[in-house]
């Protein structure tokens, strides 16, 4: 075996490691960069060919932003408002419904036919995996009867189909990792079960709740399949709006589209980066346990 000093070997591996990381960083970076610069372009700097660097091969303009905040403000803001309402309420609702069940599955023995607690929790997780395609037809028929088509309420409820099972699965594990003793002594002191859940278990499980809530928010904010099925004009969310714009003005008004797209991902990415440690925890936790 040829002898190489440890130092050379170390340097070689460093070069390799940083090479990979920088390469992947650039791959991630370029589409984001392209989105940002296109949001500040105009017809001159897009239609005659690609331009790459502001102030060098094109002059930045604010057309796209004029479009959003000018006369079209109401058209653009409606889907934003819908997305905020739908993702907040569906996440909160799923969290409420799901964490109760998660708590119960963590603390009391259940039997559902042949299934005990582990089986029930696994069933919830399995349910989350079903493709939306097998759910949309009955939901469409139900929604038509109930007048829920093209409403925010309809979307909020539809999003529980993946939200609730996810919360049950995740929160059961978080609750199981909490010590039982505190709760037991509170019960002896005369606290009710719901009181224990509200005053002791939920506050202790806060990191888990935050992680799950953020992941639900992101999922709902970006969801497309159910939105395209159940929303047409009034309840249109951002991804749907973006896609409709894309179909309408493909290749013509990219600066408008890019400004809208950029605006749509800013709030979620900004809050995501602030709460990054919760996301990482939630994602890896859910994935590994799942």
């Amino acid at each position: 075996m040829p002898f190489r000093s440890n130092r050379t070997r170390q340097r070689l591996s460093d070069v390799l490691v940083y090479g990979v990381l920088v390469a992947w960083s650039l791959i991630i970076f370029f589409p984001l960069y392209w989105l940002v610069i296109t949001a500040f372009k105009g017809p001159l700097s897009t239609n005659s060919g690609a331009t790459f660097i502001p102030w060098v091969d094109f002059t930045p303009e604010l057309r796209g932003w004029d479009y959003i905040f000018g006369d079209n403000r109401d058209v653009v803001m409606k889907p934003f408002l819908n997305s905020v309402v739908v993702s907040l309420s569906s996440a909160l609702g799923a969290l409420l419904i799901g964490s109760m069940a998660g708590y119960a599955l963590a603390r009391f023995p259940f039997r559902l036919g042949p299934l005990s607690n582990d089986g029930i929790a696994l069933t919830f997780m399995g349910v989350r995996m079903f493709p939306a395609a097998v759910l949309v037809i009955p939901l469409l028929i139900m929604y038509r009867e109930l007048g829920l088509l093209d409403t925010r309420v309809g979307l909020i409820i539809a999003y529980w189909s993946f939200g609730v099972p996810f919360v049950v699965w995740m929160m059961r594990d978080f609750f199981r990792s909490l010590p039982v003793e505190i709760e037991e002594s509170a019960l002896i002191d005369g606290c009710t079960r719901l009181g224990v859940l509200r005053d002791i278990a939920l506050p202790l499980a806060r990191p888990g709740l935050i992680a799950v809530f953020i992941l639900l928010m992101i999922d709902a904010w970006n969801e497309y399949t159910l939105a395209v099925t159940f929303a047409f004009t009034d309840a249109v969310t951002i991804p749907l709006f973006l896609q409709q714009q894309n179909d309408l003005q493909l290749g013509t008004q990219w600066w408008n589209m890019s400004a809208i797209a950029l605006l749509s991902l800013l709030p979620i990415v900004a809050s995501g980066l602030v709460l990054e440690r919760y996301i990482t925890r939630g994602l890896t936790f859910g994935a590994i346990k799942g």
Binding site: V134, L140, L250
Partner: protein, 290 residues
């Protein structure tokens, strides 16, 4: 406490699941009156059409094109990330960004803008290098390739995250003893790291496999199933023909074809990998025993 979650899940997932199966044995069409039970008629029509094999093939090609590539990218970057000494926190957070962006926005930036054949930057760079322009979206094979590329950009981050969590959970001592035994890093990877990582790899791949089968959003934005129907996925058929076109029975059959394909592939994958997972766990137990 568990009841609301059970009701939500049963009402939003399990009941629709059975209802869809029921619909597939009728001739239910939203725009034609009269629903009749027709037995396997809709099924045999659909299964004999030329269209089903094409859409099913598109979906499978997409899955087999994206998931292994995502795993490979994810593994390489995660390995680099676990060996990095400075800046790990930065890279980890930065690589999280794609996961927070909606697929529609990603598809718009990369598909509609960057891969635009006349004024997109990718073809512009190829032109500067005096290479021929690539028909990214107008050629059926290239269009599928473009979609796969976009999905790989978007979801490799998920693999990175899960595999990095796996790598960081591996005990340091075994690496020290491997070093004492004189193993080089290539040998260490194949005899220690990779086998120990199997449970994480299997879960991450399984989750991506299931999601990839459901693909709709990026196809809708980038190619809308075209050129022709060369990139149409099963979910897209269910939504466009089944729901939007009103042909519920046909959509129900297609949805079940998707479900069966998805279950078959993930079932085979789980069967094939189960041996490795248990042997990895066995190895862990042996190590703990020592």
């Amino acid at each position: 406490m568990i009841l609301p979650a059970v009701i939500a899940t049963a009402g939003l997932v399990l009941y629709p699941l059975l209802f869809t199966l029921g619909v597939s044995f009728t001739n239910w069409h939203l725009f034609f009156p009269g629903v009749q039970f027709v037995g396997f008629e809709t099924w045999s029509h659909t299964l004999q059409s030329d269209f089903l094999p094409q859409v099913a093939r598109n979906t499978v090609v997409f899955v087999l094109g994206t998931v292994p590539a995502q795993y490979l990218c994810g593994l390489i970057v995660a390995l680099a990330l676990s060996n990095v000494k400075r800046g790990r926190a930065f890279f980890r957070v930065y690589f999280l960004v794609p996961l927070m962006i909606s697929p529609v926005a990603v598809a718009y930036v990369m598909g509609s803008m960057m891969l635009n054949e006349t004024v997109g930057p990718v073809n512009e760079v190829l032109r500067l290098l005096s290479l021929p322009r690539v028909p990214w979206l107008s050629d059926p094979n290239w269009a599928m390739f473009s979609l796969i590329m976009i999905d790989v950009w978007h979801w490799s981050s998920f693999m990175i995250l899960v595999l990095l969590a796996g790598l960081q959970s591996l005990p340091q001592e075994i690496y020290d003893s491997a070093k004492v035994d004189g193993a080089n890093s290539w040998q260490t990877f194949w005899t220690l790291t990779f086998p120990l990582l199997v449970p994480f790899s299997v879960t991450a791949i399984l989750l991506r496999l299931i999601s990839a089968f459901k693909v709709l959003d990026i196809i809708k934005v980038v190619t809308n199933g075209g050129p022709g129907r060369s990139t149409e996925s099963l979910t897209m058929t269910v939504i466009d023909t089944g729901v939007r076109g009103g042909d519920l029975a046909y959509g129900a059959v297609m949805a079940y074809v998707l479900l069966v394909l998805m279950l078959t592939f993930s079932g085979i994958f789980m069967l094939v990998t189960r041996r490795w997972v248990t042997s990895a766990q066995g190895g862990e137990e042996r190590r703990n025993a020592i």
